[in-house]
């Protein structure tokens, strides 16, 4: 058993931590979030230069031969700084689909662009009526000569305003919610018939409603095989969940540290509020929630390449535990900050908001609890 990071991983963590500290302080983040573009392409370029965008890819694919643990390291630091750049959608999701199922030509076409930072992806999987069920799809892709015609509406596609390409899940056959008949496509955002409605999100990112109206795509935009993509989608989403759990851990760590620090400084009744036992014990509870979340994030990350049922159980467990902790820690952090916790000026409220939205991404606590129940029943 070994829970240590390699020396190299330690160096990556340090350099990313420095970058976030020096160039992604809270005031800078605020101005970026409020700016026209909403993100910082120059930071993305720096991440590429540091090699971070190529870490989880094999050397054969032009990457650095790393693993999901590397994504964990990146996302934890992202979480600490509330970094908004689209690592999960581009590197973990798009990269994941290409890595696991892309043809050589597709890899050659896109991975180099991901690794050097020139190509940014968004993952369009959710639909207005589908809730968190990855198979609940009304978007269709119909055979059209050699290629396909895509039609449908994807909801709250995170990072889409910044993306040049979209990974889209669609139904090539079967009925809504069938597990068969699902396929994955890589679609340039500027393809004819794609329209977007862009907007900011409550946690400081950008998203779009994406509409496909008879969008013609060539045969080679299909990733993997036609009609059998659900297990692939589930795998990539599990990898994204593990990465986002790491992000939540980073955000929880900072929210907890800030709260403890605030309770040392803030005096009421002639004493630091941190000297009141009722608050001390609650900060202890927050701390335990955080530590348990880190453990579950490790578990999920280390099980990603295991047998399917093992992977799913570990990821579902992590998403439940971390989702609960994210609510708990976010709420307690605001409460212990008192009125100051409610202000836009202080960072703590922004950590609270990010932790709130974390729960609804890729399935909330209830969704993954059900998943755990049915996996356990099947075992």
């Amino acid at each position: 058993m070994d829970f240590n990071f390699t020396e190299e991983q330690g160096m990556v963590r340090d350099s990313l931590a420095r970058l976030v500290r020096e160039q992604y302080d809270f005031d800078t983040r605020r101005s970026v979030v409020e700016s026209e573009s909403g993100w910082r392409p120059e930071i993305w370029a720096q991440l590429a230069e540091l090699g971070l965008l190529g870490m989880p890819f094999s050397e054969a694919d032009g990457g650095f031969g790393g693993s999901a643990v590397d994504s964990l390291i990146v996302m934890e630091e992202f979480g600490k700084g509330l970094v908004v750049e689209p690592f999960v959608s581009t590197v973990v999701c798009a990269g994941g689909f290409l890595k696991h199922a892309g043809s050589d030509a597709q890899k050659a076409d896109h991975l180099a662009g991901i690794i050097d930072g020139s190509r940014v992806f968004a993952f369009a999987y959710a639909e207005p009526r589908g809730r968190y069920d990855l198979a609940d799809l009304e978007t269709t892709a119909k055979r059209n000569g050699d290629g396909y015609l895509l039609s449908g509406h994807k909801a709250v596609v995170i990072g889409a305003p910044w993306a040049s390409h979209l990974i889209v899940t669609a139904r090539t056959s079967g009925d809504r919610r069938d597990r068969e008949g699902i396929s994955v496509f890589n679609v340039p955002k500027d393809a004819d018939g794609v329209t977007t409605r862009d907007y900011p999100t409550v946690d400081g990112r950008r998203a779009s409603e994406v509409y496909f109206e008879n969008v013609a795509v060539p045969a080679d935009s299909l990733i993997g095989e036609e009609g059998t993509a659900l297990p692939l989608i589930e795998r990539v989403v599990d990898e994204a969940i593990a990465a986002q759990c790491a992000e939540a851990c980073g955000a929880m760590k900072v929210a907890h540290d800030m709260t403890v620090e605030y309770s040392r400084q803030r005096k009421q009744f002639g004493a630091a509020i941190g000297s009141f036992q009722v608050l001390q014990h609650r900060m202890v509870d927050m701390f335990m929630e955080y530590e348990q979340s880190v453990s579950m994030t490790y578990l999920a990350t280390l099980r990603l390449d295991d047998e399917e049922q093992e992977r799913k159980r570990a990821v579902a467990s992590a998403k439940v535990r971390v989702g609960q902790a994210a609510h708990h820690i976010g709420q307690e952090a605001v409460q212990i900050h008192g009125g100051m916790g409610m202000t836009d000026e202080l960072a703590i409220g922004h950590y609270f908001k990010r932790l709130t939205i974390f729960d609804s991404e890729f399935g909330n606590v209830d969704h993954h609890m059900k998943r755990h129940v049915s996996l356990s029943a099947a075992a």
């Binding site: 409460q335 009125g339 916790g341 409610m342 709130t356 939205i357």
Partner: protein, 398 residues
Amino acid sequence: MNLEFSPEELAFRDEVRAFIEENYPDHLRNIGLREDLGREDMLAWHKILGEKGWSVPAWPVEYGGAGWTPTQRYIWSEENARVNAIMPLPFGVSMVAPVIYSFGSDALKEQHLPGIRSGDVWWCQGYSEPGAGSDLASLKTTAVRDGDHYVINGQKTWTTLAQYADWGFFLCRTDPDAARPQEGISFILVDMKTPGIEVRPIKLIDGGYEVNETWLTDVRVPVDNLVGEENKGWTYAKFLLAHERSGIAGVARSKRGVEQLREIAKTETLDGEPLISDFDFARKVSQLEIDLAALEITELRTLAGEQAGRGPGPESSILKIKGTEIQQRLTELTLEAVGHYGTPYYRAVADAGSNEYPIGPDYAQHSAATYFNMRKTSIYGGSNEIQRNIITKMILGL
């Protein structure tokens, strides 16, 4: 013991319901407590009620109160909640007015009660300061006698909706040498247009501006604006807080909120079925309803106690704690119910003056902002930790 309404009470309910149906402004129906409301919106219903004589039902009849029994008042708030009515703001009606009619001079009663009743005068509460939150008695803002004026200096914060206020009630230190900090504080009414007052907005995490910093520099206020006795302000402040807390339970509004949550959960789907038929989700809604029923009956017991002449005491802390926990849970579940559509930042979309089609369903639009905003309820009005301290001391005797 009996929970049923009497025939008179049922008749009263019908009368109230009909009045609301006919008179509540259409454009303000079912918009709840959205933060983008302006002064006129927030006062519209209050003014209509003022004319009817129903704006301040809990006041003693001699000052314009309706003389309703606790049950009638309960029916009243239920019926208003049915349309999500924007009820009269508490600062005038249920906070400063009871202090004025209980402790103020006749001149102050004559000057202020009519405007509060009619909804023409907007009040704000100047208690908290940057260094005096939970420990309110440590407040530093001073009021120094200069002839027949007080000269006030200091900084207040979190002053809710002070941007619209005509008058404010302020706690100021009039005796810095008092033996206990509580003994040197006075309760003073201040015309917000007096020179030397500056109100600066504070942005909250939901993106709205409902609170302010209020700076007072050499603000000259007539000594006649003192309520009751000098240096006895703490007594009045505590009296007021007990009133504030019972209003804070928000039972009727939460019941309406649960109904709306059920509606949303009938529309949202999970595995192709309505979300409300999902046991996990339905169970959480039921838990909320059960907690709400417990709170409701507890509030009715408190009201009945009041009717029997026992003023709201430390028991009102129970209503504050449980009421706010339920409000927070309700908004959290509502956000959960809307799934992905809790994520868009609708205020930014609205601010951009967009006339495009809305993003996602209507009911999702304020779900995140409302959830974020409602975290305030366990902080303000004496935080829930402070309420528990009050129960510890006053009820458990520890």
